[in-house]
Subunit: 582 residues, 2 copies
């Protein structure tokens, strides 16, 4: 069926929408692919829905190819399974919750681990039934605090989520690898530039986890990679190499100094270096103690936590939050400081924390035997040569410090560079968190139960439309890879001449008949308007039927390269079929 | 791709599920097509999802064929548009409502008139842009009081809803006809037995409206049709022909009688006929006054309403509710009666209602000049010869009386018979209810605005799976029409013989390669188990590869007729291709 712009439900916009910052968001709205209904909630207009469906088809093909079986769960789910795993509470304000007319608690599913686990438990019993991979392409809901960037971070979105169920860790590793390879095929087919990074497993529980990030300067995920090795990780997953422990014996004793007006690291370092101590201090020699409060899911009470890190680093709140998840974390406010008079702002040290039984976690660089200049818990006083393991003993380590370009790569090869991306896929060895919660066992060959182990694998299908648009556009509009483009050829009838119109129509019919997907601009608009819309819509091949017709040629324009080729009108259908591999 | 039962995520059940009453519900669960998650909320397992997708495809093809353009709205919608049309309130408890983290009011869309209207207003402006038909296949939500019959009346369900936008009433009539014809094609392709009935327009507003009902004794919709004409209507839409008015002058005066112990119609009729009045009374000569209370959407207060109807009829609460929609209606309880002492139970007459300014609506048979025996508003007293239009004047008429088999057909031809069905489609000339609410105008050729007129058209896509199963099954299982069946051929390897297994495999591969959709039962189970599952699953053609192989034949079984044909193994692929028109 030919898509005629004279009747297509499409209005392109010359102006960027006021609420859009990212190019993909601006262009998808301007080109009439999506429309905003509410924050983070969008409608799909005809061209957008086609791209979305084309992406879905690619995802389905590759999931089917690894033996995935498609099923479909509801989006409206009862509370009980999520209560059983604790996620009803853990999800916090991100979960849309509602009550039905009888007062029953329901939620709009953010992911479906619970339902998949319960369904497998209902259907399968013998070890012979395993392994199994199930997936769905389904609408999901998250009440994001800051929905943004159009469909890149929405509150209603389309996801492919799959789950593998295996009898053994080796089986899980195989299912994980199969998904990893399928995801590579999918993202390659979609023409994306992406990296696979080690990921922090976050609130989901489980062990091995990787994210697929589409590279984009505008992306909201920060990741690092090594200058030398293949190491790449999202910032939350970067681990800090701990320096070797140092001996305690024979080290200089701790010494409290009067350091007036030195509430910041800079003022402290300047003071120490002017104090005639016979050595030079840098910010990296100081120990900064940042006070936060944490709260476990469902708890009423906040708990105080001290985070100690070298003074040349800031706390990265996303890394801190990932390390503490599923607990919430927040900085202390003035009221909190007032409630804990032992916290002397600017001069907090490990001493007062220990004396008041405040949990104290430190950066891995604060290793046993390292010496620090830090607060002495009195105004205008610091202590130097405070030795970790002798003068203070933290409750453990925590990954909370910012990661900086030039930091050593955790794998020991090279240093880190920092880049940004959009998370488009996530693969995850969940392990037995959910199968334990629901006692999902298979009956083994000897009649003994085998606890199943799970993987969970997600692709943000609607987000992919945005991610591809973010990577693939120019100043004039969108640039769709052919496989997912809303059409193969965009035929522009350029001119009011009757022969031009009739030839455009005829070519569109012939192209359509030969299996190509055709958009035909048969509107009364000027060629200029039509060209601009063709560029904006972003079909990979534009066929212009216009003045050249007098000399028997039409123009084929490659939307990606901008290259224009004159082709004899009688051979253009064959030419385009070849171009499109049809 | 061959679907192998050895790995398919499927467990068939020998027992009916405890909560199922209707055959379709029992069989869809037993055959592993659907699973219940919560009341009225179901998961689709692989075979069920295929049937659902196949039905979707048929619906899309026919919608595209009439020029429908597919778009997709969110299911999670902000309150404001529904507030603007009053439906936020009118929908009552059927609407799932929720709040987001910022306290904003949202709903889960039950239908999308508001969104379609607003979207068209946003995109189109000139009369040249019209007419337009837009549709979506989308998940919808209704918090049904009594979800039942599996997917036939769910709380989360898949619907195709389309909307036409026209410049004129004639245009709307054309769009309506196009949908009517498309629906006929769709339901014909799905092999359904159905009737098209005139429908009551209910809470949706608007005028002409028809429903497509799949005939099923177990259906929850009652409809009538004429014994002689083509008239068919759902019971809510049946109109009662009013008898001719009778003259008032010279009629017998009303007369109050002492009628002890006659609180029911039967006791009253018996008393009157034994009272020596010189004539015979039947229940149809008495006027029964049923007291109900109604409440407008959003109102706090209930309002009293008297419904007067001939004593040989009961009130049909569904007809009454349809007549009063969008107001709620409920019978009076004892507390209500206590609050209105002028209501003398068993002896209520029009007099007390008028004296107390209670709204009073009567059945159309209670025409001006008709005489009635009815309550005299005193215990043990009735009045006879109470003349409508002389002794009492109702506030209007209402369709609330039950419709009975044998009633005259409203079109004057024949009498009515009563049957039951499942609503599978609804087409509806909405008119300007929504375009008025949102001021949707097109700029006309002379620069004057033209108010757009709308139609709304729905098909219950997920319900169709149930409706087809309800019409098409036998004692052994489901019977799917080929176009929507989960496969074309179900190959049963019947026997452990190596040649049997290898031949079954080879035939499955060849059938798959020739474009047929194949299920292969390659399990280790007994032939009996395999035959039972094949019947239960309901693929239209079953190919049995078994003992006959020794004499070079396999068996082709027609699941509908039960007919078995022996076919030489070397020609069976060609035979089946022809059978399936591939």
């Amino acid at each position: 069926m030919i898509t005629r712009l004279s009747t297509l439900f499409l209005r392109t916009l010359r102006e960027d929408p006021a609420d859009a910052e990212m190019p993909s968001h601006k262009l998808l709205v301007r080109a009439g692919y999506i429309r905003r209904v509410s924050p983070g909630i969008y409608s799909w207009l005809p061209l957008g829905l086609r791209v979305l469906r084309n992406i879905e088809a690619v995802v389905r093909q590759e999931m089917d190819a690894i033996g995935g079986q498609e099923i479909q769960f509801p989006a409206l789910l009862p509370r009980e399974p999520y209560q059983a795993t604790g996620r009803w509470t853990e999800y916090g304000a991100d979960l849309f919750r509602l009550r039905d007319r009888k007062g029953g608690d329901y939620l709009l599913g953010p992911t479906h681990e619970e339902l998949f686990t319960l369904t497998v438990k209902g259907e399968l019993s013998s070890y012979k039934d395993y392994p199994v991979i199930l997936y769905q392409v389904q609408t999901k809901y998250r009440d994001e605090e800051r929905p943004r960037a159009g469909i890149l971070r929405g509150r209603e979105f389309l996801m492919k989520d799959s789950y593998s169920f295996d009898l053994s860790d080796e089986g899980l590793a195989r299912s994980y690898r199969a998904h990893r390879e399928a995801y590579i095929k999918i993202f390659d087919r979609l023409g994306l530039r992406y990296v696979i990074v080690s990921a922090h497993s976050g609130a989901m529980g489980g062990s091995k986890s990787e994210e697929f990030l589409a590279e984009a300067e505008t992306g909201e995920d920060t990741f690092v990679r090594s200058t030398e090795s293949g190491y790449a990780a999202n910032v939350e997953a970067v681990t800090t190499p701990a320096p070797p422990e140092l001996p305690i014996a024979g080290r200089a004793p701790a010494q409290v100094l009067h350091t007036p007006d030195t509430p910041t690291i800079d003022t402290l370092v300047e003071h120490l270096n002017g104090a005639g101590l016979g050595r030079t201090f840098s910010a990296a020699d100081t120990l900064k103690n940042v006070m936060v409060k944490t709260r476990q899911p469902g708890a009423q009470q906040w708990e105080l936590l001290g985070v100690g890190l070298p003074g040349d680093r800031e706390v990265d709140m996303k890394r801190l939050a990932a390390s503490l998840a599923p607990a919430e974390v927040a900085l202390l406010d003035d009221a909190d400081f007032a409630a804990y008079p032992f916290l002397v702002k600017g001069y907090i040290g490990p001493g007062a924390l220990a004396a008041n039984r405040v949990r104290y976690l430190v950066d891995p660089r604060v290793a046993r035997g390292t010496a620090w200049a830090t607060g002495a818990d009195r105004p205008d006083h610091h202590v130097i040569d405070l030795l970790c393991g002798r003068d203070f003993t933290p409750n453990g380590t925590i990954e909370a410090a910012q990661v900086c370009a030039g930091d050593p790569s955790p794998d020991g090869a090279g240093t880190l560079v920092i880049a940004r991306g959009i998370e488009i896929g996530h693969i995850f060895q969940l392990g037995r968190k959910y199968t334990d919660a629901f006692a999902l066992d298979a009956l083994g060959p000897e009649g003994t139960p085998i606890r199943i182990t799970m993987g969970s694998y997600g692709i943000g299908v609607s987000r992919l439309v945005g991610a591809i648009a973010e990577q693939s556009h120019d100043a004039y509009g969108l640039l769709w890879p052919r496989e997912i483009a809303p059409a193969d050829v965009h035929v522009v009838i350029a001119g009011k001449d009757e022969t031009v119109g009739a030839t455009g129509e005829r070519l569109a019919v012939e192209l359509d008949a030969s299996g190509l997907r055709v958009i035909l601009d048969d509107r009364l608009a000027t060629p200029g308007v039509k060209f601009a819309d063709a560029e904006l819509i972003g079909v990979p091949t534009i066929l212009v039927v216009g003045r050249g017709l007098a000399s028997g040629v039409v123009e084929v324009k490659d939307r990606f390269s901008g290259e224009r080729t004159e082709v004899p009108v009688e051979s253009v259908v064959a030419h385009l079929r070849e171009l499109c591999n049809k």
